[in-house]
């Protein structure tokens, strides 16, 4: 109650109408802030002529959509994107989920050190890392190589894919695991039937974030994958640099489709079953 009372020290906060009006102003400002760039993006994607100082494009057309879809590299890049990002997530599961379980449930020397050390890759400028990674990869013959691209994208998802599931495993009460053992489950069965399902929402969230981060990764892929492997974001960078604005806009919209689908999918999973029952939205 303390903060509310402090708020009421300002005169207009004592008037309910004023308070409601202020809330709406905040909501609108936030909406404006979030939606304006998106709206501009959509307008650009369909604009043919849009010159300053006009608020709206002078002419609309589907010309640039046509152009992008008939660009010979689009299909190839999409193929690269959709064959790298999911594999990155799969690899991250194999590497990070056991680590997350170990961080949460086991005690081993240097646990805290390793847990924090995962951040190391994020504490230096990314591009510097990519350059040194490229030097190493060059020696190992991983430049312009599919697995080289997968590995460089993997760097970005390690922290997400370890930290979030660790919190997920931490959130599973020991009592629930013990109750399962008491009912006759061996440790492996406890993991599959109780621990993993309960940590699954966090793993799902981490996977989505990891997929998006791998899917949108451009710098590392550009450095390691060049010249043969151009994923969609890499292609977009080169198109944005060389073609008018609508091309970038069209591409952004195309790139956000998988993300959008993933979020809808995640929402459906998270809001079904016991989670929904727990939140009372079932």
């Amino acid at each position: 109650m303390q903060p509310v009372r402090r708020l009421e020290a300002v005169w207009f906060m004592r008037v309910p109408q004023m308070r409601r009006a202020l809330l709406w102003i905040l909501v609108l400002a936030l909406g404006f802030f979030l939606l304006m760039p998106l709206l501009t993006l959509v307008l650009w994607a369909f604009a043919d002529v849009w010159r300053y100082p006009s608020l709206l494009p002078q002419m609309y057309s589907l010309k640039w959509w046509n152009w992008v879809f008939h660009n010979g590299n689009l299909g190839k890049s999409a193929l690269w994107s959709f064959t790298t990002a999911p594999v990155v997530v799969l690899l991250a599961w194999v590497i990070c989920l056991p680590a997350a379980y170990a961080f949460s449930r086991l005690n081993f020397p240097g646990k805290r050190f390793f847990f924090v050390a995962l951040l190391a890759a994020d504490s230096f400028p990314r591009f510097g890392i990519y350059i040194s990674v490229a030097t190493l990869f060059f020696q190992w013959g991983l430049i312009g190589n599919y697995w080289g691209v997968v590995l460089v994208q993997l760097i970005n998802v390690i922290v997400t894919m370890t930290w979030i599931p660790t919190a997920g495993f931490d959130g599973v009460p020991r009592e629930l695991e013990e109750a399962a053992r008491d009912s006759g489950a061996n440790p492996l069965q406890v993991f599959w039937r109780v621990t993993l399902p309960l940590a699954l929402p966090s793993i799902l969230v981490a996977s989505i974030l990891a997929f998006l981060s791998a899917f949108d990764e451009a710098q590392g892929t550009l450095v390691v994958g060049a010249p043969d492997i151009t994923t969609l974001p890499v292609l977009m960078y080169s198109l944005v640099a060389n073609y008018p604005e609508p091309v970038g806009a069209v591409f952004s919209i195309l790139l956000s489709i998988p993300n959008l689908l993933l979020l809808i999918f995640a929402r459906r999973i998270l809001l079904s079953g016991y989670l929904a029952a727990g939140f009372g939205v079932r």
Partner: protein, 352 residues
């Protein structure tokens, strides 16, 4: 032969309290309550029986065979926990059927046994619900059903009602009592709630700092607490410090001959139940300081002429001043052990 035997059981440095050289037996069909303040080792003991903790020494035997080498999933015990009892991602039905499924029982048998046990705990219509849709009391009843459906030899309950509100706790306790008396299952029940222990248990084991203070039937625990600690811990008790001097015990208003086993100069503690104090024509003088009406009886705070305060529970008149007599006095020596019980005929000779 006892169903369960704990011999010289020890556990050091457990975060729920240590256990030092614990010996006890539980008979088939018996309800044993482990009672004590937090950190006394009661939960540690229970978790060692369930197999979640490995003892540092001693043995746990069931039907004469040691359980120590068996992991929890292979011990014939069922446990009900204090919190986080049900798996939230499974419906009630799946929670209860979980153990039967692991044992690969035929589907028809699982259906039947789940249905029977849900009826036993009085929640047959809840099978399709999820735990989050149940009240706290219902969740604990399902947890009980989940343990019972596997027909364990021994049911372990770790303060199962501690998180429920007082009224519900009382109802659950009565339900568990009638269920146990119907099914006849052997139980070890850990609690720090003495009312729960007194109602449910055939025998109560009072623990303190890893040691067994007393193990006896509830009546015995209440009426003849073996140590000063048990006297103070179970029920309401007036405790008076005193001394043995010149062949007499002197404590507050009381003077009486020394029971055997007490030495001259030894400090003693007298313990008197408030219901054993009553206004009478004889006795020692008191002044009534405060009276609280508790419905079916009244609680009087009395001040003796020495200045000490005593509590008395009575249904009778409470004058503002008068003479009070004790009908039963327990005497504890310096070691804390019960040295003697003064019954009315002995107290008749006591000179206040």
């Amino acid at each position: 032969m006892a169903l369960l035997e704990l011999t010289h059981l020890q556990k050091q440095y457990a975060n729920l309290g240590v256990v030092r050289d614990l010996n006890l037996e539980v008979a088939e069909g018996e309800v044993l309550c482990l009672l004590g303040p937090s950190g006394c080792g009661k939960t540690t003991t229970l978790r060692m029986v369930a197999g979640f903790l490995q003892p540092d020494g001693g043995d746990i035997r069931m039907d004469g065979k040691s359980l120590l080498r068996l992991p929890p999933e292979r011990r014939p015990t069922g446990m009900v926990f204090q919190r986080y009892t049900l798996w939230p991602h499974m419906s009630v039905w799946h929670n209860v059927a979980f153990g039967l499924g692991l044992r690969r029982r035929p589907r028809a048998e699982i259906e039947q046994r789940v249905k029977d046990v849900l009826e036993l705990v009085g929640l047959p219509e809840m099978a399709r619900r999820y735990p989050a849709q149940l009240s706290g009391g219902q969740q604990q009843r399902i947890a009980l059903a989940r343990a019972l459906v596997l027909e364990p030899r021994l049911l372990l309950l770790d303060e199962p009602f501690a998180n429920l509100d007082a009224q519900l706790r009382e109802r659950m306790r009565d339900e568990l009592l009638s269920l146990q008396r119907r099914v006849g299952i052997t139980m070890i029940f850990v609690t720090h709630d003495q009312a729960e222990a007194l109602v449910l248990a055939h025998r109560i084991a009072v623990m303190r700092e890893g040691n067994l203070e007393q193990i006896a039937a509830p009546d015995e625990i209440y009426n003849r607490p073996a140590t000063r600690f048990v006297a103070a811990f179970v029920g309401t008790m007036n405790l008076l410090e005193g001394k043995v001097s010149a062949g007499q015990v002197i404590a507050g208003p009381f003077r009486f001959p020394v029971p055997s086993g007490l030495k001259d100069g030894e400090t003693v503690t007298l313990a008197i139940r408030p219901e054993d104090l009553a206004f009478a024509s004889g006795g020692f003088p008191v002044r009534t300081v405060q009276v609280a009406n508790l419905g079916h009886y009244r609680r009087a705070t009395l001040q003796t002429s020495e200045g000490g305060e005593l509590l008395a529970f009575t249904g009778g008149e409470i004058p503002s001043e008068g003479l009070v007599q004790a009908s039963r006095v327990l005497v504890y020596g310096a070691s804390g052990k019960l040295a003697g019980v003064l019954e009315p005929q002995a107290l008749a000779q006591v000179k206040p």
